[in-house]
């Protein structure tokens, strides 16, 4: 049990260390063809300026699906993580054509970058 607990903490701390917005900025390349970081700029997807802490489906001028608008999701560390891992599973009926970011540490870094927007 002690060993298990120890390894659990080890995992947690390594995740905490890996949270790096600079690395996240690089990973944002996967999003950049469709999402602007400038406020108000609608591309294929809505602008991600201020996304952290925002209610899902709330950027004016972007045509969201009902699935996203009615999801009741507020974008935070956990909700973004689940969504970026597998968008279709997280909010069925959404229309973001992205198959998901598999590695948990990549998602943490990306979310760290999204927090800076």
């Amino acid at each position: 049990m002690r060993i298990l607990l120890f390894s659990f903490f080890l995992t947690l701390s390594s995740v905490a260390v890996a949270q790096d917005a600079t690395l996240g900025k690089g990973l944002f390349q996967e999003c950049a063809a469709c999402h602007s970081t400038k406020s108000g700029e609608v591309m294929l997807g809505p602008s991600l300026a201020g996304v952290y802490g925002r209610k899902a489906g709330s950027v004016e001028g972007f045509r969201y699906t009902n699935a996203l608008k009615k999801s009741g999701v507020v974008w935070g560390e956990e909700t973004l993580d689940v969504y970026i891992a597998d968008p279709q599973a997280a909010i069925p009926g959404g229309r973001m054509p992205y198959s998901g970011m598999a590695k948990p540490e990549d998602r943490k870094n990306l979310i760290a970058f999204l927090q800076t927007l």
Partner: protein, 589 residues
């Protein structure tokens, strides 16, 4: 009453890949450019987002992004003894229209055509003797070389974000690439796409037979990519809605997300949509063109746009049509073999086999426009001896699928009833459990395959339709037989449970079933005015300020898809205009 605009430096007809490239390059150099596009504006944001874009009925079957044939079409016949009839539905080929042109709904296959095409007559004569080329086969050298075009291929590949594996970098053969390609200076900008089970099976079988498989070079981005101009492409999601569709993930290299937005940023550039050009005006005394007439389809207004330079950048067939309706250059006559406009129309030939395996799951819906593995052993491989199978040209062979959409894709074994319960059962059993092997073969120019104006039928503007006279010749029949035989060899080596074998295409060409949109010729490039419409800088022999783009420049059709040289020649011509023509207007050769 005609609305007259004031003169600009350049007017460009058509806004697809070539119109987009020329618009960007010339507007950025400071020239005042007006581009005229007959179709509607569109954008990924407004038009390609899902679920809208995954409407197979609207876009895949009813050709929602293509030319409206009620306004303009072609008449078709197989030979000069027949009366041509209008093509009233799209079939054998799909004509693009609207902002971005066919560059929006292409699959992205991007090849470098080499000296084997550009010096075709001299190379075949040297190797096989003059008699090897049939008398009625009007192939000719193009006047350009691979070496001249190499940097421009490179530029186009980087603009469009081509995923692929180089096979020959600076004469060093690269493992896993196409060993028969001409030497390139650099790798493709992106690594190849993921492969599917069908790709892997084909690849293994080809290797076992001593062939050289490699992944298709294609404008489906395998990774997120920022091109040298700063255009951002997303990563391909393998959604299976590529050819005939706009990309929902901005992952397809298209003029709409690359060159066109950069042209639009220039204050020297103006785009006018819904503008159908009907005539290029010529001052015959001065041997120059003076501008173009067009109709604004929204207002019905007739307009005249004068320009110092006119560039025809419509789809190849439409460039030829415009030359014919404008009366520039002498129309080609197949009997006397005099004239050049409309000469050497060529198409392609292909065949394929379907392989059925009960124990394999192919998931054909997970795919993209360029998801296939090819062999070039019977095409770019000059050591392949054509004297045995007796044909000029070549064929590539490919394994893989470009999509398994529900309406159009339902492979069933031979002998399956065509409707009812047994058909449904077979379809649901085999949808996931089959793969195909196909070929894409060249078509050589022939004196009797050509384009001219139809004597009877007219389009919505009252102009004669263009008439296409085309059929395959014995050279293509032999090539198709050879391709079918090779496909079946590879297919059999995979031991499928059931197989629909490839059968050679030897009957008359039909305009009804879809085959390929690779139409070439009509305003061909050559070494002198007696055998061609334009010189190697794509500049008209009849008017030095008229340039023509697109596959109508090609004096014959190769096994490869045409967009590689179409893009490269656009950059090559842009350079020639900026760096040579503007300084010293006149013939560039």
């Amino acid at each position: 009453m005609t609305k007259n605009f004031s003169e600009v430096d350049v007017v460009i007809v058509g806004m697809g890949w070539t119109g987009g490239i020329l618009s960007k390059e010339l507007a950025e150099s400071g020239l005042k450019v007006v581009a005229l596009e007959r179709g509607a504006p569109r954008s990924a944001e407004e038009d390609f987002s899902i679920p809208r874009m995954r409407d197979e009925l609207q876009f895949g079957i009813r050709h929602g992004l293509m030319q409206d044939l009620r306004r303009d079409t072609l008449t078709i016949r197989n030979n000069i003894s027949q009366t041509a009839l209008p093509m009233r539905q799209l079939g054998s080929f799909l004509l693009g229209e609207g902002l971005g042109g066919a560059g929006v709904h292409w699959n992205g296959h991007t090849w470098r055509w080499t000296d084997m095409e550009f010096k075709i007559r001299s190379m075949y004569e040297e190797r096989y003797g003059k008699k090897f080329i049939p008398e009625d086969m009007t192939i000719q050298d193009w006047g350009i070389t691979y070496k001249e075009l190499e940097p421009y291929y490179d530029k186009f590949e980087k603009t469009a974000g081509i995923s692929g594996k180089a096979g020959n970098v600076d004469n060093k053969i690269q493992e896993g690439g196409n060993p028969f390609e001409a030497p390139r200076k650099s790798q493709y900008p992106l690594p190849p796409l993921e492969t599917s089970l069908a790709c892997d099976l084909f690849s293994g079988a080809a290797k076992n037979l001593g062939l050289h498989p490699f992944p298709m070079p294609t404008a489906n981005a395998s990774r997120p990519y920022t091109n040298p101009d700063g255009a951002k492409l997303g990563q391909c999601q393998y959604c299976g809605f590529c050819e005939r569709f706009g990309c929902e993930a901005n992952a397809k290299g298209s003029p709409l997300i690359t060159v066109i937005p950069f042209a639009m940023k220039q204050s020297t550039f103006e785009l006018r949509m819904h503008s159908v050009v009907s005539k290029v005006h010529m001052d015959k005394a001065k041997k120059v063109v003076t501008g173009v007439s067009y109709t604004n389809l929204q207002t019905g207004e007739e307009c005249f746009q004068p320009a110092k330079i006119v560039i025809l950048a419509a789809y190849g067939l439409n460039n030829t049509h415009l030359m014919l309706t404008s009366g520039i250059g002498k129309p080609y006559d197949p009997v006397s073999q005099k004239g050049v406009i409309g000469k050497n129309y060529s198409y392609q030939t292909g065949t394929g086999a379907t392989l059925f395996f009960s124990d394999k799951i192919f998931n054909p819906f997970m795919s993209t426009g360029g998801l296939s593995i090819l062999v070039d052993d019977f095409n770019a491989n000059w050591d392949f001896d054509r004297s045995g199978p007796q044909f000029v040209g070549g064929t590539t062979l490919n394994g893989g699928m470009f999509g398994g959409r529900p309406i159009a894709y339902h492979p069933v074994p031979p002998g399956t009833p065509r409707w009812g319960k047994p058909w449904k059962e077979a379809m649901s059993k085999w949808y996931l459990r089959s793969m195909s092997i196909g070929s894409s073969g060249s078509v050589m120019a022939n004196r009797y395959n050509y384009l001219d104006l139809d004597p009877s039928y007219k389009n919505a503007l009252g102009q004669p339709l263009m008439r296409m006279t085309f059929d395959y010749t014995p050279n293509e029949h032999r090539l198709s037989k050879f391709a079918a035989q090779k496909i079946n060899e590879i297919a059999k080596s995979l031991n499928p449970e059931i197989m629909t074998p490839a059968s050679p295409r030897t009957g008359p060409w039909s305009v009804v079933p879809y085959q390929t949109t690779h139409n070439t010729g009509g305003t061909i490039m050559g070494t002198n005015p007696s055998n061609s419409a334009v010189n190697k800088f794509c500049q008209s022999w009849d008017a030095h300020n008229l340039f023509i783009m697109g596959a109508s420049l090609f004096p014959h059709n190769a096994a490869y898809n045409p967009t590689g040289p179409v893009g490269a020649l656009a950059y090559w011509t842009a350079d020639a205009i900026k760096n040579k023509y503007i300084k010293n207007p006149g013939s560039l050769v």
